[in-house]
């Protein structure tokens, strides 16, 4: 994988030290709304972040409830954008899909599936936004060969799948990741970070630890 040279300042024994940057993964089901919102935010703040979806396909709303636009992971956002704009610009503008796709295509090329991208390397922290996704990520990690002995923190923050909540969820994710980023290891501080987060935002945050 292509890992950039980056370091972060961390708290170390009352002072500061340098450590390698953590790598974050934002995961939702379609890698469109929640994970991309968080991805965009974290990226803008200079964190090393990637994003994924755990569903089998990328689903976008269609003209009716039962006619979603279904894409394969890997289909460029640009392509979806162009296609939907051609289909019904009014509709997709109204429900915010076009704006969302536009944002996404400025962040990265195409939605990626978590399960299919084990080759992307080692993450330190994975944020998921739905318990189903959380479970999928954990399960996928469990199914991989765990030989690196490298712990990975998987956290789930429940975020409703709409634009507004995604914006809120993205901000919370950013805050959380920045907090984690400031510590040399998350292993020793995660309890306090999570407790503090839950207390401050009155939102439930569950986490688990898996290994690469």
């Amino acid at each position: 994988h292509n890992r950039r040279e980056n370091y972060r300042f961390v708290r170390r024994g009352g002072g500061w030290g340098i450590a390698m940057r953590f790598r974050y993964a934002m995961v939702c089901s379609s890698n469109q709304n929640r994970s991309m919102e968080a991805h965009a935010l974290l990226k803008r703040q200079g964190l090393d972040v990637a994003s994924y979806g755990t569903g089998s396909h990328v689903k976008l709303p269609g003209p009716s409830l039962r006619e979603p636009n279904v894409y394969d992971f890997g289909t460029p956002y640009k392509k979806m954008f162009d296609e939907l704009r051609r289909k019904d610009p009014e509709l997709y503008k109204r429900n915010g899909i076009l704006q969302m796709l536009k944002r996404n295509l400025s962040v990265k090329l195409a939605p990626q599936r978590w399960q299919d991208n084990a080759g992307d390397g080692v993450f330190d922290v994975v944020m998921t936004f739905e318990e189903k996704v959380f479970d999928s990520v954990l399960e996928d990690l469990n199914n991989r060969e765990q030989s690196l002995m490298k712990a990975i923190l998987v956290m789930n923050l429940e975020v409703k799948d709409n634009h507004e909540e995604a914006a809120i969820g993205g901000r919370l994710a950013l805050e959380l990741c920045q907090e984690i980023e400031g510590n040399e290891t998350w292993e020793d501080t995660i309890d306090d970070i999570v407790a503090g987060f839950e207390k401050q935002h009155r939102r439930k945050l569950v986490f688990s630890i898996s290994f690469y």
């Binding site: 040279e5 030290g17 340098i18 450590a19 390698m20 089901s29 379609s30 709304n33 569903g55 089998s56 396909h57 689903k59 976008l60 709303p61 269609g62 003209p63 009716s64 409830l65 039962r66 006619e67 979603p68 279904v70 509709l91 429900n95 915010g96 899909i97 739905e130 318990e131 189903k132 479970d135 999928s136 954990l138 469990n142 765990q146 030989s147 690196l148 002995m149 490298k150 712990a151 409703k160 799948d161 709409n162 040399e184 290891t185 998350w186 292993e187 020793d188 995660i190 309890d191 999570v194 407790a195 839950e198 439930k204 945050l205 569950v206 986490f207 688990s208 630890i209 898996s210 290994f211």
Partner: protein, 1456 residues
């Protein structure tokens, strides 16, 4: 070549290593190390050992990142070059205690790899030889050291990230040391079985077991307390991983996990994370197929239940089911789902089903979402195939359906036998899995495999109870049975192999109810509760169904079959539904019913199916309805069977054993277009069926159906548009409201349900456009008075922004021309506002949005609209406590904005208003666009100001309205007033009268009035005026204003409004201030004073007014003389008020004042001018003035002479009364008088009465020196004569004055006036006998001040004498005069005193001219006089003293 490469590389590597060492910055160091590592990864047979020291050095580098990286490189080297291990490992072990956790973790990671690979090598080598080579052996020794080191970290007390890693290492160790089954490619310790020189499998197992024990110990109670949640989570996960991979350890691990109660010893986040880990672990065990896991399932379920804490009993089982379902989900669900979605036939789902599914998806088990989704889809899969399957079944194996039914409903039936327990649970599980259809096949297999043979036997036995007597041969495996049943001999087998199987499986969804129907006496199981519940929900949603049941279905069933009633709960609503459709389709029912009546159960079913599949109509109903009916066709059949049983009254008991005959129905394969058109047809048909349905009473159901279909249909069919057209074509008769609301609720539910983002987005947008379309159409097609629209808005579950905008366009119509065009505009506004009102009351969620609309409307630029809105806001909304504050804020802002925005500067007005509009908070009502257009350079300024005025009114009206509700708000109007521009002030003044009248003089208002902000005087005036316009102002108000005048505002105008209500004294006190006002204002004040109030009459009489004016002393009161004369003129101008009588009375009073008022003569002159008839009276006044020695007041003297001149010839008489020096003076001043006067006096009879001195002056007799010399004091000759003369003339005049007074007081009842006159004269007369000049000082021997002195100046010698004599004679004189004059003035001197005092004090005394009555006050003053007479002498002298003092003072002043 290779050698060269190697050596090159070797040098390069060294170079890299040393440069990495020497670099001081982290990035270059890492970069070089990274290059080094890359080079090392090339395949080199021999490692450059000289590199190692460099690397070891780097292991103590200052940067943790470098150390970690070096450790990683060393690990890789160790893996590759085993021979180096003895060198590397000791160094690594040291690094295990590195201060940077990342380094230690890296060491563990390397250690794990090295350990594993070394172990494998050792194991493998041992297999082939009885001895290991030394190198390997020493490596192994080192690796064991590493292992022990890491283990010690893992089992150390406390928490750390390194420990997590170490524990993971231990997990790996346990796995390595224990054998595993299966053909995994991994190293398996079992290869050691043959015996190994170093490794003993038994020992390894023991060690693994021991390590496991140590891990477990950490989780046991006391130890676990000190752990943080990360450690616990990792422990749990590791242990569970061990248990999964080595099921043999289940027995040790699971009890510990199960007894672990994180909540009991961990708080908050700890508990939550641990709980989650446990849950995941437990769930994964439930999936575990190993026999060792099976016995734990009950406990696992129980534990899961506990974790969820207080969840419904069925939850845990649900989890299990769904988990099983999701085994397969993980990989394939998504695909399946999509394919399901792609299948148009599956696009529908039953209302009950989807609700049910949603309800469950709302549970915390989000992990089961996949499974849930399946549940939802399941229903959709069923229908399309069930038809086929039914056909197939009927065609091939008539007995299979009931058997399936019996099998799958096993749980419910078997309940009678064994209630709960593992067997029952398994049966339930099977049932549910079977119910899940195709997707659950995998899970079923796993389940079956995982059950021990004994248990499976029990399950089968338990299930036997459910199998009908003749179907006993199917105990050999549910799965197989189902598969076979579906496939054997079916015509459709080849055509639909996979989906067909699924279809058969899916049939069982409906089984529990069927089972209940078939065997109604068997009590329902828990398992059914959900179904029942779902049905209940459904029935609540469609209350009309009962009616449908009665009318459409079996009218008699309830009556004849009591159990039927019980079962009706279990009847899926769709049964009625089908019936309903049937009844809605003419012909269908009749044929079916006809057949029914004669047929047995089997044929009935057949007919039922036949009629559905064979009938063109049914074919024409696209997937939706077909699905519905077919999906439940078994139930329908069962229902029919009951009904037939009813009608035939046979074989009720044997009903469970019925066998379905073969039914062959055509299978129609439709293209997508055909399906679409069929769907559309169906939809249209349902839409059009409103008449029949409304008569049969099923409209509720129809609405739900339409709403539901709308959601399900592909959008090309545009179901919403069809519905909208239908609704709007006849809103009232088509029950448009109900239908719309139903659609809206359906869509809203769809949008709000926590589904994926996408369906909710779509539904939300459909919702919005539907509501908006209907609302707009209602607006356009109904009159504003119609309530439909507001009812719709009120009933809609949610009002999106666009709808609020629509509402806003009602309340705040935009540009002017539109407004003009729409004649109903006003009503429209009313309509909008009333809708807004009710929304505010009933919809807390959008309250503030609605309020905003109302408030905007309340500052609308059109007055009509504004007033409507204001009425709503002020009268209705303002009193609602939770929005009062908001309204007030808004109004206040609007009020304040008006001051800051609207300027009186003409040029700026336009732009300011525009600015104002812009920043006008968010009340942004559409600005009057014409304004900027007109505002050219040449725009007339009045247009500007009128625009400003209207703008000001726009912003102020609301506030004023609020003021009437809450008077204290009014204070802000005062406070802004000062800085307000003219238009604003104008607007305020326009409003004030109405406003203040409404408010009345409340205490709040009085408070404001009592302390008005400076600059608000004008406003205050208007407020006061308004307040006093009506009935008598309250005493509080009067008091407030007076206080205000006394303390704050010295402007007497402030008192004008209450002048009529002030006490007389107060008015007199402030009278000088009034006189000092400009003429117009004085006139106003004057009229108020004179007019008084209706209750108490005039405050002052006209004569009092005049007297008050005359009593003003310009010098003392600081009022210019001009003001006083003007005031006089004003009075004279009002002849109606200031009549002749008034003047006479006034003059009469004034003349008695000592000193005489300054303007007295002026007034006399004016009186003559105004009322010539008064001349006689005036003459008398004049003669009294003579007696008052008028010549001593120089100013008055001039006036006197002028008066005399004016009134000649009558005034000659008066002239002649003057003492001769004064007469001379007069004649000198006005020479024109001399001749006529002389002529007059020369008349014999007059001449004879004249004193000689006078005659001398007139030249009628020659001057006599002798007489003259005796009067030294006077400059003029004949003084004594004159005085004598005067005395005489005065006594003469006394009688004259009596005569003169006659016309004024014709009735003798009132003696006051004449008596006063007399008295005043008699006062003088005794003095006059001597020297009148001295007589005054005579009376006041004490008070002889300056006047005496001045007199004595003139007569230094005589004065003393005359004084002496006079002071002696004074009492005598008085007495004398009394007696001598008693004839004319019986009361005497005292009375004159009284008269004078009365004049001042007796306010209520009637005008002296009112002769007809004797007033009380007069009477009282009469009696007073009588009393006073006794003390007359003393009193008189005293009074005289004071009076003379006064007169002296005033005369001094005059002189000054």
């Amino acid at each position: 070549m290779v050698g060269i490469m190697a050596s090159y590389s070797r040098e390069r590597l060294e170079g890299l290593a040393s440069s990495a060492k020497s670099a001081t910055e982290l990035p270059p160091k890492l970069q070089r190390l990274r290059n080094l590592r890359r080079d090392l990864q090339r395949d080199e047979p021999v490692f450059p050992t000289e590199l190692l020291p460099h690397l070891f050095d780097l292991l103590s580098d200052q940067f943790g990142a470098v150390r970690k990286f070096v450790a990683e490189i060393l690990g890789e080297i160790g893996l590759k070059y085993v021979e180096l291990l003895p060198e590397i490992v000791p160094i690594l072990i040291k690094s295990l205690e590195d201060e940077t956790p990342a380094v230690a973790r890296q060491v563990i990671s390397c250690g794990a790899d090295l350990f594993r690979s070394t172990l494998e090598k050792v194991a493998v080598q041992g297999l082939h030889s009885s001895e290991l080579n030394d190198l390997l052996e020493s490596s192994w020794t080192w690796m064991i050291k590493v292992k022990d080191e890491i283990c010690s970290v893992a089992f150390k007390q406390g928490n750390s990230g390194v420990k997590l890693c170490a524990m993971k290492f231990v997990e790996g160790l346990i796995l390595l040391y224990t054998p595993h089954e299966g053909s995994e490619a991994d190293f398996n310790i079992t290869i050691l079985r043959g015996g190994h020189p170093v490794l003993n499998i038994g020992d390894l197992s023991i060690e693994a077991s021991q390590k496991l024990g140590l891990l477990l110990d950490q989780l046991r109670h006391p130890a676990a307390k000190s752990l943080n949640s990360s450690t616990i989570v990792v422990l749990i996960n590791s242990l569970s991983s061990v248990a999964r991979k080595r099921p043999a350890y289940c027995g040790r691990i699971l009890p510990v996990l199960l007894s672990l109660d994180p909540l009991s010893f961990l708080k908050g986040v700890h508990g939550a994370a641990a709980n989650l880990a446990l849950k995941t672990v437990f769930l994964s065990y439930l999936k575990c197929t190993h026999p060792a896991a099976a016995p734990w399932k009950d406990r696992l379920i129980g534990a899961l239940k506990e974790i969820e804490g207080g969840c419904r009993a069925g939850k845990a089982k649900d989890i299990f089911y769904k988990t099983n379902g999701s085994i397969q989900d993980k990989d394939s669900t998504e695909d399946t789902k999509v394919s399901v979605d792609d299948n148009p036939l599956c696009a529908s789902s039953d209302v009950a089903e989807s609700n049910f599914g949603r309800k469950r998806s709302g549970s915390e088990y989000n992990i089961d979402l996949n499974g849930d989704a399946l549940n939802g889809k399941r229903a959709r899969i069923t229908p399309s195939v069930s038809e086929e399957s039914t056909d197939g079944l009927n065609g091939n194996d008539g007995g299979s359906l009931p058997r399936v039914a019996a099998t799958s409903t096993g749980p419910s039936n078997s309940r009678g036998v064994s209630d709960t327990g593992p067997v029952q649970q398994l049966v339930d599980m099977f049932g549910t899995l079977v119910a899940q259809g195709e997707k659950a096949i995998g899970s079923l297999e796993i389940l079956i495999k995982s059950i021990s043979a004994d248990l499976l036997t029990d399950v089968v036995m338990a299930n036997m109870h459910n199998i009908p007597p003749n179907g006993s041969s199917y105990a050999d495996g549910t799965n197989e049975l189902v598969m076979n049943m579906g496939i054997v001999g079916s015509d459709a087998q080849i055509k639909y192999p996979p989906s067909f199987v699924a279809a058969v499986l899916s049939l069982s969804t409906a089984f529990p109810p069927i089972a209940a129907l078939i065997n109604p006496r068997i009590p329902k199981t828990e398992n059914e509760d959900e179904e029942v519940f779902a049905v209940h929900v459904d029935q609540q949603m469609f209350p009309a169904e009962d009616a449908v049941l009665e009318t459409g279905l079996l009218a008699s069933s309830d009556a004849s079959f009591p159990e039927n009633e019980d079962d009706s709960n279990v009847f899926p609503p769709n049964v009625h539904y089908i019936k309903n459709i049937e009844s809605g389709i003419p012909g269908l029912v009749s044929s079916a019913q006809l057949d029914d009546s004669t047929m047995n159960v089997e044929t009935a079913t057949k007919n039922q199916n036949a009629s559905f599949s064979g009938n063109l109509l049914v074919d024409a109903i696209p997937s939706m309805s077909v699905d519905k009916s077919e999906e439940f066709s078994p139930k329908a059949a069962a229902t029919d069977s009951t009904s037939l049983v009813l009608s035939t009254a046979t074989s009720v008991a044997s009903a469970p054993q019925f066998v379905l005959p073969k039914i062959s129905a055509p299978v129609v394969d439709l293209s997508d277009e055909e399906k679409d058109s069929l769907q559309k047809l169906v939809f249209l048909r349902i839409v059009e069926a409103y008449k029949q349905i409304s008569m049969s009473g099923g409209s509720q159901l129809r609405f739900s159906l339409l709403a539901h279909l709308g959601v399900e249909f592909p959008s090309e069919l545009d179901p919403w548009k069809i519905l909208q057209e239908h609704v709007l074509s006849d809103y009232l008769n088509h029950e448009g409201h109900e239908l719309t609301v139903r659609v809206l609720y359906r869509l809203y539910g769809e949008a709000e349900a926590e589904q994926d983002f996408f369906s909710s987005t779509t539904a939300a947008s459909a919702y919005e456009s539907f509501l908006l379309t209907v609302a707009e159409a209602l607006r356009d097609s109904f009159p504003p008075s119609d309530k439909s629209l507001s009812k719709l808005l009120g009933d809609s579950p949610h009002l999106p922004k666009s709808v609020l905008k629509l509402l806003e366009s009602f309340c705040c119509p935009g540009s002017g021309e539109e407004v003009q065009k729409d004649l109903q505009n006003g009503d429209r506004v009313t309509q909008g506002l009333s809708a807004v009102w009710s929304l505010i009351l009933m919809r807390p969620g959008i309250r503030s949005d609605c309020l905003k609309i109302a408030l905007q409307s309340a500052v609308h630029h059109l007055e009509e609209i504004r007033m409507k809105a204001i009425r709503l806001v002020a009268n209705k909304l303002y009193s609602i406590s939770f929005i009062t504050q908001q309204i007030e804020e808004f109004a206040k802002n609007s009020l304040f904005s008006v001051v800051s925005c609207i300027s009186s500067e003409r040029g700026d007005a336009e732009t300011r208003i525009d600015d104002c509009n812009k920043k006008d908070l968010d009340l942004k009502s559409p600005p009057n666009k014409p304004q900027p257009v007109i505002s050219g350079m040449d725009m007339p300024s009045e247009a500007t100001s009128s625009a400003s005025l209207s703008e000001a009114q726009r912003c102020l009206s609301l506030y004023f309205a609020l003021c009437t509700k809450k008077h204290s708000l009014f204070v802000h109007v005062f406070s802004i007033y000062k800085n307000a521009s003219d238009p604003v002030k104008q607007a305020i003044h326009l409003q004030i009268p109405i406003l203040v009248r409404t408010m009345g003089s409340s205490s709040e208002l009085l408070k404001i009035i009592g302390d008005p902000p400076s600059g608000s005087e004008n406003l205050l005036m208007q407020v006061l005026q308004t307040l006093t316009e009506g009935p008598t102002p309250s005493s509080e108000l009067v008091l407030t204003i007076r206080k205000l005048f006394d303390t704050r505002i010295k402007d007497v105008e402030i008192l004008f409004p209450i002048l009529p209500f002030l006490p007389r004294d107060d008015v007199l006190r402030i009278f000088p201030h009034m006189v000092n006002l400009p003429m117009e204002k004085f006139q106003v004040a004057l009229s108020r004073v004179l007019q008084g109030s209706s209750q108490s009459g005039p405050v002052l009489s006209p004569s009092e007014v005049l007297i008050a004016i005359h009593s003003i002393d310009p010098a003392r009161d600081g009022i210019p003389l001009k003001q006083v004369t003007d005031a006089c003129n004003t009075c004279f101008a009002q002849r109606q008020t200031f009549t002749q009588q008034v003047l006479a009375s006034v003059l009469n009073q004034l003349v008695q004042q000592i000193p005489l008022p300054m303007l007295f003569m002026r007034t006399v002159l004016q009186a003559i001018g105004a009322f010539p008839a008064l001349s006689d009276f005036i003459l008398e006044i004049l003669s009294r003035l003579v007696s008052k020695q008028i010549w001593k007041y120089p100013k008055l003297w001039v006036g006197f002479l002028k008066c005399v001149q004016t009134t000649q010839p009558q005034s000659y008489k008066v002239l002649l009364q003057l003492p001769s020096p004064q007469l001379g003076n007069a004649l000198t001043k006005i020479s024109a008088l001399r001749a006529p006067l002389t002529a007059h006096a020369s008349q014999p009879e007059i001449q004879s009465s004249l004193p000689r001195s006078t005659l001398v002056v007139l030249g009628l007799v020659p001057d006599s020196q002798g007489t003259q010399t005796s009067h030294v004091q006077a400059n003029e000759t004949q003084t004594s004569r004159e005085q004598q003369q005067q005395q005489a003339s005065e006594s003469q005049q006394t009688s004259q004055s009596e005569q003169f007074s006659l016309p004024l007081s014709p009735s003798k009842t009132d003696h006051q006036e004449p008596s006063q006159v007399v008295a005043s004269q008699s006062q003088n007369s005794p003095i006059g006998t001597g020297r009148s000049e001295i007589s005054q000082s005579q009376n006041s021997p004490i008070g002889t001040g300056g006047s005496e002195m001045s007199q004595s100046q003139n007569s230094p010698i005589v004065t003393g004498l005359s004084e002496m004599s006079q002071s002696q004679s004074s009492p005598v004189g008085m007495g004398r005069s009394e007696t001598s004059q008693s004839q004319s003035s019986p009361v005497g001197t005292g009375q004159s005193e009284m008269g004078q005092s009365v004049q001042v004090s007796d306010s209520s005394a009637p005008a002296p001219m009112s002769h007809t009555r004797t007033s009380d006050s007069q009477a009282s003053s009469q009696t007073q006089r009588d009393d006073d007479e006794k003390t007359e002498n003393t009193a008189t002298s005293e009074n005289e003293v004071t009076k003379s003092e006064k007169s002296k003072e005033s005369s001094e002043e005059e002189e000054e």
